[in-house]
């Protein structure tokens, strides 16, 4: 057995006698780098949201863990992701969000790519005014396409290209939430916020998928959502989280609620679910709104969270409805901000050298353990 497999063996135990991931998974640059390749590049990882490129031709550059990517909406409304690197001399193609009318023109020598990444023209490549050359074959020089999949408006990518299709990898979750496969509309500028947190990205996942902390960290939520009204959600190797049985819709000053998504079954009347889609996407579904969070790992102890809220109806200019959505976003922002001191505190706690990964509550911590088990299996994949 490899040293790492031996070291992570206790993580793979059943929750009753498992330990959490060792400190170095939170405090070491080397392990951050190892997880980058084996966990974040080798799976379906969230890099952003379709709402940031709403119109055909909209392009947004995203540097994810150092990799320059470009999200583009093509003329059929599909989202494509390319490596944001010119095939000529490796120049960054698009520096700022912009609308691309027709082609992506490299700012260096103006090689031009269409919205499908095909190399369209190579000015002066054969000398001044000669735009072809026998040795330059445009068919071979399209942009590198990164496999991508848009689900609940999250742009998922598989950077190393080794994963099975998203629809196969996430078959179970897609069918669990099939009822929410219907149009949902971003709530507008107030329904969008980001948080910068001094923690390892995994601690944000771990905190999100457990309900054990609710009474202590979210006392406001606890007044209507008690611990016993929650259940665990665990799917080996793909996701985990929690559900509630007592979701209460937010009312506005006239007692209006948000419109429901269409045709939901009765389980969603008071039910809501919060799931961490491994590795780094946190989703929440309710009868009247959804939210998505993409965790961007910046370094071993820094994470940026982008949070976006969606509704069943297209937002309009009605002031009251807008305030209602703002109120809802504020509510969630408060909840997520309440979590900051714990994810930052757990990060600092992991510099305590005696900490051994910690012991889980077999009754309360199994969604977290499920995640650790998965991470351990990913970093030791292929090792004896």
């Amino acid at each position: 057995m490899s040293d790492r497999t031996i070291q992570l063996k206790p993580v793979m135990n059943p929750v009753e006698n498992a330990r959490g991931l060792p400190n170095e998974h939170y405090t070491s640059d080397q392990v951050f780098d190892l997880e980058k390749r084996t966990v974040l590049f080798a799976n379906w990882t969230g890099i952003g949201f379709g709402k940031d490129i709403p119109e055909p031709g909209d392009a947004k550059p995203v540097t994810f863990l150092g990799v320059p990517l470009l999200m583009v909406r093509d003329h059929d409304g599909n989202v494509n992701v390319f490596q944001n690197t010119c095939r000529h001399r490796g120049m960054i193609l698009v520096d700022k969000p912009k609308n691309i009318k027709r082609i992506i023109r490299c700012p260096y020598h103006s090689w031009c790519y269409d919205l499908n990444g095909d190399l369209k023209t190579t000015p002066h490549v054969g000398g001044p005014g000669q735009n072809t050359h026998a040795n330059i074959c445009p068919e071979e020089l399209g942009l590198f396409t990164i496999r991508s999949y848009l689900w609940h408006d999250v742009v998922f990518v598989n950077i190393d290209g080794t994963m099975q299709d998203f629809e196969i990898s996430h078959q179970e979750l897609m069918s669990r939430w099939k009822e929410f496969d219907q149009p949902h509309f971003h709530g507008g500028p107030e329904s969008s916020f980001t948080l910068e947190v001094n923690t390892n990205w995994k601690l944000a996942v771990e905190n999100y998928c457990e309900s054990y902390h609710l009474p202590w960290v979210h006392p406001g939520l606890n007044s209507y959502s008690r611990l016993e009204d929650h259940y665990h959600i665990e799917q080996r190797d793909t996701y985990s989280g929690q559900g509630t049985l007592v979701y209460q819709q937010l009312t506005d000053t006239d007692n209006n609620v948000f419109a429901d998504f269409e045709g939901l079954s009765a389980r969603w009347d008071k039910g809501a679910e919060y799931i961490a889609v491994y590795p780094n996407v946190l989703l929440g579904v309710h009868r009247d709104h959804l939210f998505g969070i993409v965790l961007e790992p910046i370094s071993k102890d820094k994470t940026r969270e982008q949070i976006e809220l969606y509704y069943a109806q297209k937002p309009d200019d009605d002031l009251q409805r807008r305030q209602h959505r703002t109120e809802n976003a504020k509510l969630w922002k408060t909840v997520f901000e309440e979590d900051i001191f714990v994810v930052e505190g757990m990060q600092r706690g992991r510099y305590g050298e005696q900490f051994d990964g910690g012991r889980f509550s077999p009754a309360m911590d199994s969604p977290t353990h499920n995640f650790h088990h998965w991470v351990a299996s990913q970093v030791t994949r292929g090792e004896p």
Binding site: K96, K98, N99, K101, R102, I103, R105, S110, C112, K120, T121, P123, H124, P128, G129, Q130, N131, T132
Partner: protein, 78 residues
């Protein structure tokens, strides 16, 4: 426009070009003029300028894109 005036106008047009694709339209027109000024006496310079006009036309989806493309194609330059 004299070649010198055209050159100055091109420098200025490049300075004014930004992310807004309409800002590229003057470049399309000026390079097209530079083509006309040089063709047929100096085909190398002429097709050099026409190529530039075409690239900026593509980038900004200028109405002349197809026309420029077919001139270049007919001349065996694409």
């Amino acid at each position: 426009m004299t070649p010198e005036e055209l050159n100055d106008a091109l420098v200025l047009a490049h300075q004014n070009a930004d992310l807004n694709s309409d800002s590229l339209h003057p470049l399309v027109n000026l390079y097209h003029q530079a083509f006309t000024l040089n063709f047929p006496e100096n085909p190398v310079a002429a097709y050099f300028y026409l190529t530039n006009a075409y690239v900026y036309a593509l980038d900004s989806n200028h109405e002349s894109t197809e026309q420029l493309e077919s001139i270049l194609r007919d001349a065996g330059r694409l």
